[in-house]
């Protein structure tokens, strides 16, 4: 066996390196947990390392060797530029989450377990890497599980918090259930085709085979659980609400995004012969995800739970790009993922910093927020408008493009339903804006100063929200890559 093949997975290996370094640092640097200096080092280290690693991956994109495609272990591991790009996007998101987490990590009760947070997060990220560039169902399954198992620990991170534990329990139980079904589906695939290599499967599938159709549905359900699509979404709200805000942010963007991308690639690459079937399935799933989530979001008061439902409906919009499985859809999906990540993390940053400083997480607490903290509420408004798809913010562009893709793929009715739903979503986003600007409140959240990490992260997000759309080269660049299916 040729071990040089490992070099093809430089993304993963570099990430593993980061994890290892962090592990060692956590072991040796932090002999004494009580001193703040160490934890400062430990909070800077992951960000720095991850930034380095991101730069390393991105460099491969900027100066592509050959066509940028690479394959290892007989096609078990595949990598294309667009996959690398997605990994970069996920990295950026993770960096923002780390920046967000800092103030939370500095809390005394977390001093003891700072390192774990970073390592667990990074290992889920690693799982997503493998999931993304898997060329074989085994690789895919391992990646999926690697992405979800440490997540449980993260959700349950605040040990003595009942809600956190309950959230984790619901998450892991549903995850087990879905992975059971997924595994069964994969077994059916194996049973009917005799192989689990993506490249070979497409040839062996036929829409006539009942077992294979069942496998398709089971696969979609397993990954739909990660993306939290209706009807596999029910864990989402509870988990998001119970989990620590930082983790919620991570959940709502990174794992969701990776899974959506994988859904696209596998449906297009593997289940190509059954395109009509999975179009039908996705059609209904999307309609229900958007509508039901919007209906639930309308009357939430806890802002994290609210964001959970918003995230579900956003996921619905996200997978609009899957319809038809066109290159345009792929581009707009990745673009949407990027924009959505920026905006959503922006909102979570502000939720988090507010929670850290005032401990308030109800929408009604935000009444009169503009009077006390104008800057924060302004950024929040930008991000919410972006989520709602209001120009000139990036969200408008991403929504427009993904609708365009779906329309072009031949689903005008679906697009129309989604468009009508944007009105509802605008309604509930405006509810928060209303709370911040319009509703009078004699005791609003007291003014506070956010730490420099959060400030940096917020700046990044705001920049992304404002420029992400107008600067058209982003979309253009993704488009140049998205041939790599």
């Amino acid at each position: 066996m040729d071990y040089s093949q490992f070099l093809y997975m430089h993304d993963e290996i570099s990430l593993i390196a980061v994890i290892v370094i962090l592990f060692l640092a956590d072991l040796f640097l932090c002999g004494d947990r009580k001193s703040g200096t160490v934890s400062k080092a430990l909070s800077l280290l992951p960000v720095g390392l991850l930034a380095l690693q991101t730069a390393y991956i991105a460099s491969a994109l900027l100066c592509p060797c050959g066509d940028g495609m690479s394959e290892a272990f007989g096609g078990m591991y595949q990598n294309t530029p667009v996959m690398t790009l997605v990994k970069v996007v996920l990295n950026v998101g993770t960096i923002i989450v780390f920046l967000m987490a800092d103030s939370w990590m500095k809390r005394p009760e977390n001093q003891i377990k700072v390192g774990e947070f970073y390592m667990l997060t990074l290992s889920t990220l690693l799982g997503m890497y493998y999931m993304i560039s898997s060329g074989h169902f085994l690789m895919f399954f391992i990646g999926l599980e690697l992405a979800s198992i440490p997540m449980t620990a993260l959700i349950a991170y605040t040990k003595n918090n009942q809600e956190s534990a309950e959230a984790a329990a619901k998450y892991i139980l549903t995850a087990l259930f879905s992975s059971g079904l997924l595994l069964y589906g994969i077994s059916l695939v194996y049973g009917t085709c005799g192989t689990m290599y993506f490249d070979e499967l497409a040839a062996k599938f036929s829409p006539a085979d009942t077992l294979q159709l069942a496998a398709l549905v089971l696969f979609i359900s397993g990954i739909g659980f990660k993306i939290s699509l209706v009807p596999f979404h029910l864990w989402t709200a509870d988990t998001y609400q119970g989990a620590p805000t930082t983790v919620t942010g991570y959940l709502s963007v990174i794992s969701k995004g990776a899974a959506a991308f994988v859904l696209f690639t596998i449906l297009v690459k593997v289940f190509q012969p059954m395109v009509e079937q999975w179009n039908t399935i996705m059609l209904w799933i999307i309609i229900f995800s958007i509508t039901v989530a919007n209906l639930f979001a309308v009357r939430q008061n806890n802002i994290k739970r609210f964001m959970a439902f918003s995230a579900i409906s956003q996921a619905g919009y996200l997978v609009l790009g899957v319809m038809g499985g066109t290159a345009q859809g792929m581009t707009s999906l990745v673009y949407y993922l990027f924009v959505y990540m920026v905006a959503n993390l922006g909102v979570f940053l502000i939720i988090n910093v507010t929670e850290q400083n005032s401990g308030k997480i109800n929408i009604s607490d935000y009444n009169g927020f503009y009077q006390s903290n104008p800057k924060l509420s302004f950024i929040m408004t930008l991000c919410l408008f972006s989520l709602a798809g209001i120009p000139p913010f990036a969200g408008f562009f991403s929504k427009f493009f993904i609708f365009m893709a779906a329309f072009n793929a031949g689903f005008p009715v679906l697009v129309f339903i989604a468009l009508v739903n944007t009105v509802i979503s605008l309604y509930y986003y405006l509810l928060i804006v209303k709370a911040m600007y319009i509703v009078k409140n004699d005791a609003p959240i007291a003014p506070f100063r956010s730490d420099c990490y959060t400030k940096t992260a917020i700046a990044v997000c705001a920049l992304g929200v404002v420029l992400g759309g107008i600067v058209s080269c982003i979309y253009g660049y993704i488009d140049t890559l998205s041939y790599g299916l």
Binding site: F141, E163, L176, Y184
Partner: protein, 116 residues
């Protein structure tokens, strides 16, 4: 395994083909699901999940043995999935313990603080 087959064949006079394994795994699968949906104790639910996962593993093994004996793919997959399910169960149990610490019991019905 062939020998076992022959033995059964000799003793019971029936030929065990793949259908048996499939039926068995399907049964395990649905028993698992049923358990998951009905058990009141979280640990019992975990056991049912194990049934589901193992059902899939049996499938893999059986398919590999019966249909595609030339390769090892199924066996390998089964092994990996067993390992993964072990890991999952471990962390699940950790969570259950955590809950038990807070609630002093582990009935799934008590996990309804977060809803609507």
């Amino acid at each position: 395994m062939d020998r076992l087959n022959e033995l059964i064949n000799i003793i019971l006079g029936i030929h065990v083909d793949m259908t048996w394994f499939l039926v068995l795994s399907a049964l395990m699968m649905f028993i698992g699901i049923y358990g998951f949906l009905t058990r009141r104790n979280t640990l019992a639910i975990l056991i049912s999940v194990e049934l589901m996962l193992n059902a899939a593993d049996i499938n893999f093994a059986a398919f590999n043995r019966m249909l595609f004996p030339e390769g090892q793919e199924g066996y390998i997959f089964a092994l990996f999935s067993i390992a993964i399910s072990a890991a999952e169960t471990a962390i699940a149990i950790a969570v259950m313990i955590n809950i038990y610490r807070n609630l002093k019991n582990n009935f799934v019905a008590n996990l309804d603080k977060l809803k609507w």
